[in-house]
């Protein structure tokens, strides 16, 4: 992926900004230009809060190139509070303790880097909700 393409997508990836259908109220991530539910083209940017629960997950032992640094890791579908499901990497979690329905929250992490001299790509991941002492 080119540097300009990363740059165009970075803000949405940093802050989990999707879209909301003005006609039927459905929220989407990533953003859509046409609502898949009612086919309306009247959409506005929507900021998700970043809280959700694990809908499904799998452990990745053979990751795509660039992600070896953090293997093994969990890839998950997270059902957001607002009612959309996003694909994400889980971080800061014990792989043996992940459960469907487990509450998770958004964090910003390093996704990958283009070698030693290229850009560092940051984006959201989810982690188990931090216990407050």
């Amino acid at each position: 992926m080119s540097v300009p393409r990363h740059w165009r997508e970075s803000v949405k990836r940093y802050r989990l900004i999707g879209s909301k259908c003005k006609a039927c109220g459905k929220v989407h991530y990533p953003e859509r230009t046409v609502c898949p539910l009612c086919k309306s083209r009247e959409l506005e940017p929507f900021q998700f809060k970043g809280n959700g629960k694990i809908y499904s997950y799998t452990i990745i032992w053979a990751p795509p190139e660039g992600y070896e640094y953090c293997k093994p890791y969990a890839a998950a579908l997270v059902e957001l509070e607002e009612g959309e499901i996003v694909t994400t990497q889980l971080t800061d979690c014990d792989l043996e303790k992940i459960e469907i329905g487990m509450p998770v929250e958004i964090v910003l992490r390093k996704l990958f880097a283009y070698g030693e001299s290229g850009i560092i790509v940051y984006g959201y991941k989810f982690r188990p909700v931090l216990p407050i002492l």
Partner: protein, 347 residues
């Protein structure tokens, strides 16, 4: 030094990574006495963490406590010596992540372990002069010590963000500050080197203690107080002993230092150290309590600050995770895992 306008800290936020390596394990690997170590354990950033990601979580926590629209920030300044890029500001990424761009000043500040309080001095001046209503200063590091070097036992990761704003909204009002600086080569890292060098015993008396005590004394004489008049005192924490020794030299009761002393549990978070100690004190201080915070950065210098807690602290304290929660969230890793996470094995 004082400001023209009445200002204070309107929000603060901390972050400490969850991995820990025991000092006894580092000693075991290098054949040293596992009993005579500077701290119990130190924090280690995960493989997907760096100074930027740590700064982002601390910044988000500070925004939560301040309940502030990030667009109102006039500056986001990140003090660190572990910038992910040698050239490209960390602060622009942080500003973008929290939604504070584009009408904002963003920059990285550098002054070894006092880069965070240096940025805080700047933010106090920026808001105190009326150039902006709010400014955020972050102290953060993912410090690296050379394998087997004395610094490997303490070089840790963590950070803390402070939002400066009007005194009327402050959880701690600002009274005065002092910066005390000399050219002292106690610790340095040359361009393209992975690890820093230090002048061993030279780091104590002429470096840490000289600057800390003088910054504290000069601030105290400006505000007409003795160091022991404060309810809480935070010093930069390169290990567990130095802050206590500094307290002794300044006549400060040890129990005033304990609440802000976190190095025994997480090590030295460098530019994050004094400001994380300050956050830990904000987590427990009561309205009316007075706080003295003194940083130290090699090279060398200290910044000292005087704050008074307001009623607002009780309202906002629980709006974000406290320092204790981050310290309590710990996963012990062995030296081999630590070496992998910190990329100490070069392939």
């Amino acid at each position: 030094m004082k400001t023209i306008k009445d200002i204070g800290i309107v929000g603060y936020g901390a972050y400490v990574p969850m991995y820990r390596i025991k000092n006894s394990d580092i000693a075991r690997v290098w054949g040293n006495d596992p009993i005579r170590v500077p701290v119990k354990e130190k924090s280690v950033p995960g493989p997907d963490e760096d100074a930027c990601t740590i700064a982002c979580e601390a910044a988000r926590n500070a925004i939560l406590r301040a309940a502030l629209d990030p667009k109102k920030l006039g500056a986001v300044w990140v003090g660190t010596e572990s910038k992910p890029y040698a050239v490209k500001p960390t602060a622009t990424i942080v500003a973008e992540v929290i939604g504070a761009t584009p009408l904002i000043n963003a920059a990285d500040w550098e002054f070894a372990c006092k880069a965070g309080t240096e940025a805080l001095q700047g933010a106090l001046g920026y808001v105190g002069s009326g150039m902006s209503d709010y400014a955020m200063a972050i102290g953060v590091d993912t410090a690296q010590g050379q394998p087997a070097d004395a610094l490997e036992y303490t070089a840790a990761a963590g950070g803390s963000a402070m939002i400066v704003g009007p005194a009327s909204e402050a959880l701690a009002t600002y009274e005065a500050s002092c910066s005390f600086v000399t050219d002292t080569p106690d610790f340095w890292r040359r361009q393209y080197e992975h690890y820093p060098k230090h002048a061993s015993r030279f780091t104590g008396m002429p470096a840490y203690f000289y600057h800390i005590t003088n910054a504290a004394k000069n601030l105290c004489s400006e505000v007409g107080k003795e160091p022991n008049d404060f309810d809480y005192v935070i010093f930069h924490q390169p290990n567990a002993k130095f802050p206590m020794a500094a307290a002794g030299m300044l006549g400060v009761d040890k129990e005033k230092v304990i609440p802000g002393l976190i190095s025994p549990y997480i090590g030295n978070t460098y530019a994050g150290s004094a400001v994380l100690g300050l956050a830990a004190v904000f987590d427990v201080a009561k309205p009316g309590d007075t706080v003295l915070c003194v940083s130290y950065g090699s090279g060398a210098g200290s910044d000292a600050f005087s704050f008074t807690m307001t009623d607002k602290i009780d309202e906002v304290r629980n709006n974000a995770p406290n320092v204790k929660s981050y310290i309590g969230r710990r996963v012990s890793i062995d030296y081999a895992t630590y070496a992998r996470y910190r990329q100490k094995i070069r392939m």
